[in-house]
Symmetry: C2
Subunit: 343 residues, 2 copies
DNA sequence: ATGAAAGCGCTAACAT
DNA sequence: ATGTTAGCGCTTTCAT
């Protein structure tokens, strides 16, 4: 049996309340002499406070629940998630919060997931790039559990901390356009994810703004993985879209796409320019390094975490925030070949 | 105030114990009719069981604590940790366990860390490549908290699930030796980490087994990161060790080292062969792809997790297990140049 | 200044 | 078959 404050109380012939106040340094004053004896007894008995019991009373666990996107096996292998988790962990540490990560995939079932989130172990939840149904969002709001969202919130009422997805895509496309590209293709992300939707929207919006056509065959869905990007690129080549620039919704897909292009005997960037999004480590170490858009994922996730903790502590719901993105020009983009140039 | 079983009991004019048994489907039998009414009332009231209260009684939280290595900022960015976490998460999911990840860095302080681990929220702990003091290990054992270790256990009594580090290094070195290499250098990992120590030991052992010299200047410490590998390689070049093959303790350092070599105007593998360890995604996408050793991190971590859960459930402490490694030959290794060959 | 006691929401032993 | 009640370990109100 573990040592409890009652053991300390018995040993010192004082009441448990005094022990509790001595251990917590308040709120009721405890004479220094008593305090010292309590602390010493605690040390001798090797006492460890039971936080579960404490949180039953205080109703606070000082623990934040993290819900990764599209809960599936091997969740931790996505560079995006890794950076988001790092940001959450950094901020949680500064704010003295612990993290429970919800990796119970069967909980993709909304009802079960709500059960996990609302079972009293966490004070609030951070959703990372979720694809939440409107119903789930509503139930979550009704439950009163403080929540925030890293990435675009799928529905009203969930404070959102996201990169400027459309703006980022505009940056790469302006860069490609300035180089002379006029025929673009897009490898989109998982169609149920809101950031993927926003990036695709940015692609279409730019073409519209330049009065360029945007035939349906110039867009193909990937799944944000290298393999998905490689397959999507193969599909584009098969379609013979004639695009000189491939705008990918993230870096992993760009790496995969570049691999397909190179395996087909084409050169990047001489024959085809490729761009990514996220500035993941992969994009910088492949040959050629990939032109991409950096978004401050770690800061975004940290800001979301701080906002969540403020919310838990009773402050006003934070305003959603959109973070700026930056163009990172590297060697995977160049002028299209002369004979492909459209005057 | 949240809905409790008492609310359900009051509403149906029955006792809380009946509600509890109905909700849990036992152990006391509850007539089907009553059960149905309870379930319906629970649904109507939107009742959610409070697991904190339950775990106070049962003493089980069905939650596992995960302690990452060398707790520091941005922990999640290490590919090794990502794979280990994936394995833990996969198994935890299958075994219906939740995960709390200990990212409270200040807890690097042993006493504080023990406090976190023993505050009642987790049923057991998984240490990933820890650098635990002997004292910490002893206290942990004394506490009775079930623990296992992914990687070599730093001390007796902690069941360990690790790759065959020495064997893996032997595999790459036999490969290099067969190619004709006779002058080797080693970029070691963080000297306080046991896997790093074992790999370095493997390097020295192989040289000894071939009666080759192992001058101290042929080994330099890195920190398992790309930057660390790049710096370590720069140091090796400065020392002019004349090594034709660089054996790195992991892939990130191999990528960094290769970058330094190429930036110095040397070619891989023509001028210098480089090998990694872990088969991380990076090693496969750089140019040239890096010859490495694959270890089944995900399976190792999953096995450790299963063993921990068995331990929590009162079974015998699991035996430590060493997992085989495999050589993955890629393009970063080749015969040394003729004029460098030692007859 | 400090002790006694009431719970937090739940399970399980004890009654009936 | 089912109701009553004693805790789990702790914080906090109420007495003294």
């Amino acid at each position: 049996m573990a040592v409890t404050i009652k053991d300390i109380a018995t040993r010192l012939n004082i009441s448990v309340s005094t022990v509790s106040y001595a251990l917590n340094g308040g709120p009721r004053p405890v004479p220094e002499a008593v305090r010292e004896r309590v602390l010493e007894a605690a040390r001798e008995l090797n006492y460890r406070p039971n936080r579960v019991a404490r949180s039953m009373i205080t109703g606070r666990s000082h623990t934040i629940g993290v819900v990764p996107p599209g809960i599936t096996h091997n969740v931790f292998l996505s560079p995006y998630l890794q950076h988001a988790l790092s940001g959450v962990a950094n901020a949680a540490n500064d704010l003295h919060q612990d993290l429970v990560i919800f990796t119970r995939f069967e909980a993709a079932d909304t009802e079960a997931m709500l059960g996990y989130l609302l079972d009293g172990r966490v004070d609030g939840a951070i959703f990372i790039a979720p694809s939440l149904s409107e119903d789930a969002t509503r139930q979550l709001a009704a439950s009163g559990l403080p929540c925030v969202c890293v990435s675009i919130a799928p529905h009203e009422g969930l404070p959102s901390f996201s990169p400027d997805n459309e703006g980022g895509i505009r940056l790469v496309m302006e860069h490609l356009f300035a180089l002379g590209h006029r025929r673009f293709a897009h490898i989109a992300g998982r169609p149920e994810m809101d950031d993927a939707i926003a990036r695709r929207g940015g692609f279409e919006a730019f073409l519209r703004s330049q009065s360029l056509p945007c035939p349906p065959e110039s867009i193909v869905n990937g799944d944000f993985t290298m393999e998905g990007g490689a397959l999507a690129m193969a599909e584009l080549l098969r379609r013979g879209s004639g695009a000189t620039a491939i705008v990918c919704a993230n870096d992993e897909m760009a790496v995969g796409a570049m691999h397909t292009v190179q395996a087909a005997g084409l050169r990047v960037p001489e024959d085809i320019s490729i761009t990514g999004f996220d500035m993941s480590p992969y994009s910088g170490i492949v040959q050629p390094p990939i032109t991409t858009v950096s978004q401050p994922v770690i800061e975004i996730a940290a800001a979301a975490t701080s906002a969540l903790v403020a919310l838990v502590e009773g402050q006003e719901p934070p305003a959603s925030r959109v973070f700026p993105t930056e163009l990172v020009v590297r060697a995977s983009t160049a002028r299209p070949q002369e004979d492909l140039l459209i005057p």
